[in-house]
């Protein structure tokens, strides 16, 4: 069966002030038909520890449904943070 993919493009910050909002939206998508999420990070200027936690929670939820969390368009500094914290095996970075 083909994997159902939902796309989400957050804007601005992915930190403590916006984490709850983004987590809720991503949970809503995964609670629906979507098994995988494609996150477009091209409009994200800052990723904090709270944002990383949201990514981890979402990636874990997608894996439980047999899907993945893909992240594209991230700035070099944000890609570096994801690689440095070792989340690149669960949050799949795309160019």
């Amino acid at each position: 069966m083909p994997v159902v993919v939902a796309k989400y493009q957050p804007v601005g910050r992915f930190d403590a002030s916006t984490a709850a909002q983004h987590e809720a939206e991503l949970r809503r998508l995964l609670d629906g038909e979507a098994q995988s999420i494609e996150l477009d990070f091209s409009k994200i200027e800052f990723l904090s520890s709270a944002g990383l936690r949201v990514l981890l929670v979402t990636a874990s939820a997608a894996e439980k449904k047999g899907g993945t969390l893909q992240l594209s368009g991230a700035r070099p500094a944000i890609r570096e943070i994801i690689l440095t914290v070792g989340f690149d095996d669960i949050v799949h970075l795309r160019d």
Binding site: F46, S49, L52, I81, T84, V85, G86
Partner: protein, 568 residues
């Protein structure tokens, strides 16, 4: 780190055949300086014999100077491929001294000028603060622009540059073919062709000139009449000194030194992809060589020299900046001094070909300066400083008649758009920094969302001090991580952020009342992050250390401090 655009970096040694070819290419580029020298000397009605003598002595000085410049050890030498060339900053003083008092006085004052430049070179590290990247960027842009009036009339076959009866259209075609070949070799060439775009372009240009009948009729006889081997001799004997020329020559020395700073900085930048700022100690050693070159110029009987921007541009364009090339260049240059036919051949090259070479190299020089200017955040002060410097420099180049009635002692500056721009940049930079502090304090509230306030304040501060964009971005992100940690309940009330900048470092002191942030050395694992209530705080503490070069936590009697240091 060696940039990926270079085939042979400064520490590499090309194979012998390529070394010789690259050295020969640099010699041909240096020929543009000989053409300029001959043009200046023609205004002094110097005889052909004396002109040839001064040219050949100039070859010796240039060759030995390039080799000394490549020296890495000892008190002189920058270690880079940075050959000398006749100095435009000294054109007016050359005409003043040679035309008003004779060649002996010209040579005497050139020697004195060289000594002044050596003194100035040793002072450079102490006056480093006068040469921030924005000032040097302006100089580098103008260095590229300043060669355009030499290049374009030749490239586009201005009738004044051609022999009587020459066909302008065909000569333009020769120039365009030459420039197109050089460009094509650089963009699409492989192997030797990519390394030697100038040489390939010149040979192609000569072939085109022969095919189109654009070789001046005097070219071949002027070469044939010269012997194969000849001992170069000084144009006139003796020295003379003229007190009234001391101030103009000193101003020319300052102007020339500023250009040298720009060119030597360019050498550093093109050889290191991690380059952040000028190494003034290296510039000082390199500028000392150029002072010594001018002492030798006076002693041997030729005109003043400074760093050759076009040769540096050629090294960039050909992807070969190896200091070994300086030795092959130097040896070939000194050899040329003993081969009169070589000098005659170089000066016999059709003007469209030498013009194409100059324009080709100018492209790289101008853009290097623009890249440097835009590598730093610019606030209004810096924009106006750079803008005014460029505008005034260009005005001297485009409308020289406006400065005809300027005092004599200013003529050396005003005759050189590079020098004029540099002087305006230096003065404005100094004046506009008055009252500009390199410290800043922000007062924030723990309970509020301070993201935009911090981001905008850091950008404004960074622009006011000319910090690197990357350093300000990293500092801003570090501060955001700190604020996010404090927002978990560690801080209450007022938070102050003290920022200090000293060109090398950005220091941040976040001070607040509350509990200290736990700096975690080990990255929290996923289980901790998902299930431990303190997981988020631990990850924040760990992330703090990733962007900043140094993080320290300090507690006073009643306040906690997070001290961050980042390299600019």
């Amino acid at each position: 780190m060696k940039p990926t655009t270079l085939t042979y970096g400064v520490d590499d040694t090309p194979p012998l055949l390529e070394l010789a070819s690259l050295g020969l290419q640099q010699v041909l580029m240096g020929a543009a300086g000989w053409v300029m020298m001959a043009t200046v000397l023609a205004t002094l009605s110097v005889s052909l014999l004396d002109t040839q003598s001064m040219l050949r002595m100039g070859m010796i000085v240039t060759g030995l100077g390039a080799m000394l410049q490549a020296n890495r050890r000892g008190p002189v030498g920058s270690g880079y491929l940075c050959p000398p060339i006749i100095a435009p900053a000294f054109f007016s003083t050359t005409i003043l001294a040679g035309g008003g008092f004779g060649l002996a006085t010209l040579f005497g004052m050139t020697t004195v000028a060289g000594a002044i430049e050596v003194v100035l070179a040793r002072l450079l590290p102490r006056i480093r603060f006068l040469f921030p990247p924005e000032v040097i960027g302006v100089v580098m842009v103008m260095v590229g622009i300043a060669v355009l009036p030499t290049g374009f009339p030749r490239l586009l076959a201005d009738p004044a540059t051609l022999s009587a009866g020459a066909d302008q259209g065909r000569n333009v075609a020769v120039g365009i073919v030459t420039l197109a070949t050089m460009t094509g070799c650089t963009v699409w060439g492989r192997g030797l062709v990519k390394l030697l775009p100038l040489l390939v372009g010149i040979f192609t240009g000569v072939a085109a000139a022969l095919a189109l009948g654009c070789v001046p009729p005097t070219a071949l006889p002027s070469i044939m009449n010269e012997p194969w081997i000849g001992w170069p001799h000084r144009a006139v004997s003796g020295f003379a000194f003229e007190w009234s020329l001391l101030l103009p020559f000193t101003i020319a020395c300052v102007a020339s030194s500023l250009k040298n700073v720009g060119d030597l900085t360019m050498c550093q930048k093109i050889n290191d992809s991690d380059w952040k700022r000028t190494d003034m100690a290296s510039v000082s050693r390199g500028a000392s060589v150029l002072g010594i070159v001018n002492i030798a110029s006076g002693l041997l009987g030729t005109v003043s020299h400074n760093a050759s921007s076009s040769n540096i541009g050629l090294a960039v364009a050909s992807g070969a900046t190896s200091r070994s090339i300086a030795y092959s260049f130097g040896a070939l240059m000194v050899l040329c001094a003993f081969l009169p036919k070589v000098a005659a051949t170089i000066t016999a090259l059709p003007p469209p070909i030498t013009g194409a070479a100059v324009i080709y190299c100018a492209c790289f020089m101008m853009l290097a300066g623009i890249q440097l200017l835009t590598s730093r955040l610019l606030d209004t002060r810096r924009i106006l400083m750079a803008g005014c410097a460029l505008a005034f420099g260009l005005s001297a180049g485009l409308m020289p008649h406006l400065y005809v009635n300027a005092p004599h002692f200013l003529k050396p500056i005003l005759n050189s758009p590079v020098s004029f721009s540099a002087l305006v940049a230096l003065v404005l930079n100094y004046l506009m920094q008055l009252g500009n502090t390199r410290r800043c304090r922000l007062t924030l509230t723990a309970a509020e969302d301070n993201y935009a306030t911090l981001r905008d304040a850091m950008l404004e501060f960074g622009a006011s001090v000319g910090a690197r964009k990357e350093a300000i971005t990293a500092a801003t992100e570090s501060l955001h991580h700190v604020m996010e940690s404090l927002a978990t309940g560690l801080a209450s009330g007022e938070i102050t952020v003290d920022i200090a900048f000293d060109e090398y470092h950005l220091d941040l002191d976040v001070s607040y009342q509350g509990q200290a942030i736990e700096l975690v050395k080990t990255r929290p694992d996923r289980n901790t992050l998902l299930n431990d209530p303190t997981g988020l705080a631990k990850l924040s503490g760990w992330l703090l250390g990733q962007r900043a070069d140094r993080v320290r936590i300090k507690t006073d009697a009643d306040r906690c401090h997070v001290l961050l240091r980042l390299t600019n």
